[in-house]
């Protein structure tokens, strides 16, 4: 059952050098309980897509068009009160830096109780009990004591757990997580992924996991959408996309990962660098770096179905896609 339907989402920022189109027509849908990995490099628009879903775009940025339907309700252009009622209650966000979520001068207790009371009419004691319970669920030992502490008394991994606990207080239908483990060590990242996976399965929340790390996506997500220069270039089941990528950019990205090049001396690098979004030439944004590019790539390819996945390329690697389907 579809929970979230994003259609032709466009977000732009007015800068001194002109209009920067960070997200240029992103469409995808997400079912309840599903985990979508949103992958891309810096500036691909993956975070802005996540922020746009929650309506967290402030001037000079604006959502210039498209629609975000959450459980049948249109969020683009919805009243700020309505969005505030949804945020934290039915849609939660987890940020890369937990200190963006946590207020350094308030105790964790104050912040968690406040979050409960913002949406539910319960007593302080009941709210506190829920906070203790949420901390215990994300694997924080002696939650009763930790609740009285301040954010600076927690380590980075523990802070991120607190941020996740806050996000889960209202058992949201949708969680948007923006690179929540990027700043953490490998073993701590493993712990957070473990807790996150367990909680999503228990609560049944849908999850959008925004990251640049394809390996994390492989372990966590059901589906993956790869973004490049503000557009989705490939989207599909995680096995299809990561085992037999159809878009040359996805292919290049996977080839760049050192773990996929064991034994060979050189990495298969993508030449050049990500184009500036201010000076995008018409046509496929990847064609400057693509080894298969031809004249036809001067016109923008549509995101079209190619077997069970969607690809934005005039010449998708169909053989690979067909092999995966077989």
């Amino acid at each position: 059952m579809t929970l979230l339907e994003v259609a032709d989402l466009r977000t732009e920022f007015a800068t001194r050098d002109g209009v920067l189109r960070a997200v240029q027509g992103v469409s995808f849908s997400l079912d309840r309980g599903q985990v979508l990995g949103l992958v891309g490099e810096s500036g691909s628009g993956k975070s802005v897509t996540g922020f746009s879903i929650l309506g967290l775009i402030d001037p000079p940025g604006r959502i210039a068009g498209g629609s975000v339907r959450f459980d049948g309700e249109e969020l683009v252009g919805a009243a700020e009160e309505r969005l505030r009622a949804l945020r934290g209650k039915r849609i939660a966000m987890i940020f890369q830096d937990p200190m963006m979520t946590l207020n350094p001068v308030l105790s964790v207790e104050t912040q968690m109780v406040e979050t409960v009371l913002a949406h539910d009419k319960v007593t302080r004691q009941a709210a506190r009990a829920r906070a203790v319970d949420a901390l215990a669920r994300v694997g924080i030992a002696s939650p009763d004591e930790r609740l009285r502490q301040y954010p600076h008394q927690f380590s980075g991994g523990m802070r991120q757990r607190v941020a996740i606990a806050i996000a889960l207080l209202h058992s949201p239908d949708l969680i948007v997580a923006d690179e929540p483990t990027t700043a953490l060590d490998v073993t701590v990242q493993g712990q957070i992924l473990y807790e996150m996976q367990k909680l999503v399965r228990e609560v049944g929340s849908a999850l959008i996991w925004i990251t640049h790390d394809l390996a994390v996506i492989a372990g966590l997500a059901d589906r993956v959408a790869v973004m490049y220069a503000g557009r989705i270039v490939e989207e599909g089941e995680v096995e299809d996309v990561l085992d037999s990528p159809a878009h040359p950019y996805t292919r290049g990205l996977l080839d760049s990962v050192p773990a996929n090049n064991v034994g060979s001396g050189r990495l298969n690098q993508i030449p050049g660098m990500t184009p500036s979004l201010l000076k995008l030439a018409p046509g496929c944004a990847f064609r400057e770096r693509c080894r298969y590019a031809v004249a036809r790539c001067g016109e923008m390819p549509e995101l079209v179905a190619c077997g069970p996945r969607r690809v934005r390329c005039h010449f998708p690697v169909v053989a690979a896609a067909a092999a995966a389907a077989a």
Binding site: D185, V186, V188, L193, A215, A218, G219
Partner: protein
């Protein structure tokens, strides 16, 4: 090791936080205050041979960056010795060993008010490696070598992307003709596709200039790709040293095993995560015995009492674990 280029001999580095005035007064009045000592690096010994790439891995706070800085004499060891071609790097004598460091943050490690020509050209000019008149040509040559256009020399750091800045940092390190590069998380801040370009550049330079590397990283995939040998650190101590292939195939130390199990991999889809428990203890108060024992699934009573020595468990392979007895 006979052909060791850079050698750490039982090197320790401790950072002491001195008491401030109030704390000193409190102590004189009988309060229980003591100086905080961080054992950043604890009796580390290993050597890097000529032409080798040694990867140094570990999580935050394990002392890998401090060790890198000890290697190029940015820190002086509290105990032990760092030797370059058998000569102590801190002995002085006016002559610095030909070791250069490449830093993690390509934004913070370039002076924003200097042009690229000056950033790259300053050191060779000051050290008299290149006659003043030829510095411009020398810089242009270095920029081309790291894959940048020579005309960029007139620009300032803010005009470059992260990947280009990383290349500028490399050009600056190469400018003094080093034999040995210590790369401290040199690609950690870069996007995957740019990271691949810079890693390839490191490999090309190794071949064309005959460089030796100590490559410090928390990214096991990067280390596996680049290194001949890997040194694994945990809370200031070396827990395992092995040839790269052997280490990744059959890690000996429980920490290495846990670390490898935790690394997300593209070939493991929709897996169920099973993390190792606990967090890295604070280096201010490391646990007694083996530092890893509170988190180790196979810890024995002996592990809490006695720190295991790093010793050879197979040819060319060292591990610090009581399980090998």
């Amino acid at each position: 090791m006979a052909d060791a280029l850079l050698e750490f001999r039982a090197v320790s580095k401790r950072f002491v936080k001195r008491l401030d005035a109030v704390e000193r007064l409190a102590k004189r009045l009988g309060a229980q205050v003591a100086e905080h000592t961080v054992h950043a690096v604890d009796r580390v010994s290993f050597a890097v041979a000529q032409g080798e790439v040694v990867g140094l891995v570990g999580e935050s706070g394990c002392g890998k960056s401090t060790l890198g800085r000890l290697g190029c004499a940015l820190h002086a060891p509290t105990e032990g010795e760092v030797l370059y071609r058998g000569v102590s790097v801190t002995a002085g004598g006016g002559r610095q060993p030909p070791i250069q460091m490449i830093f993690q943050d390509p934004f913070a490690s370039l002076n924003p008010r200097m042009r690229i020509a000056e950033i790259v050209g300053e050191a060779p000019r000051v050290h008299g490696l290149v006659p003043k008149a030829q510095v411009a040509d020398y810089v242009a040559d270095l920029l081309r070598r790291v894959g940048l256009d020579a005309s960029y020399a007139r620009r300032y750091p803010h005009q470059f992307s992260g990947g280009q800045r990383a290349r500028i940092g490399i050009a600056r390190a190469l400018a003094v003709k080093p034999e040995f590069l210590i790369c401290d998380e040199a690609v950690a801040a870069l996007d995957v596709s740019i990271q691949a370009q810079v890693l390839n550049l490191f490999m090309d330079l190794r071949e064309s200039l005959g460089l030796t590397y100590l490559f410090i990283s928390h990214d096991l995939g990067v280390v596996r790709h680049l290194s001949n040998r890997v040194v694994v650190m945990y809370l200031g101590r070396v827990v395992e040293i092995a040839a790269t292939a052997a280490l990744f195939e059959s890690p000996n130390h429980p920490y290495t095993q846990a670390l490898l199990a935790e690394v997300p991999r593209i070939d493991r889809k929709r897996r169920t995560f099973v993390p190792i428990s606990g967090e890295i203890p604070s280096p201010l108060a490391p646990p007694p015995g083996c530092h890893f024992h509170p988190r180790c699934p196979r810890a024995m009573p002996r592990c809490a009492a006695e720190a295991p020595a790093l010793r050879e468990v197979a040819p060319g392979r060292l591990s610090a674990c009581h399980l090998n007895d």
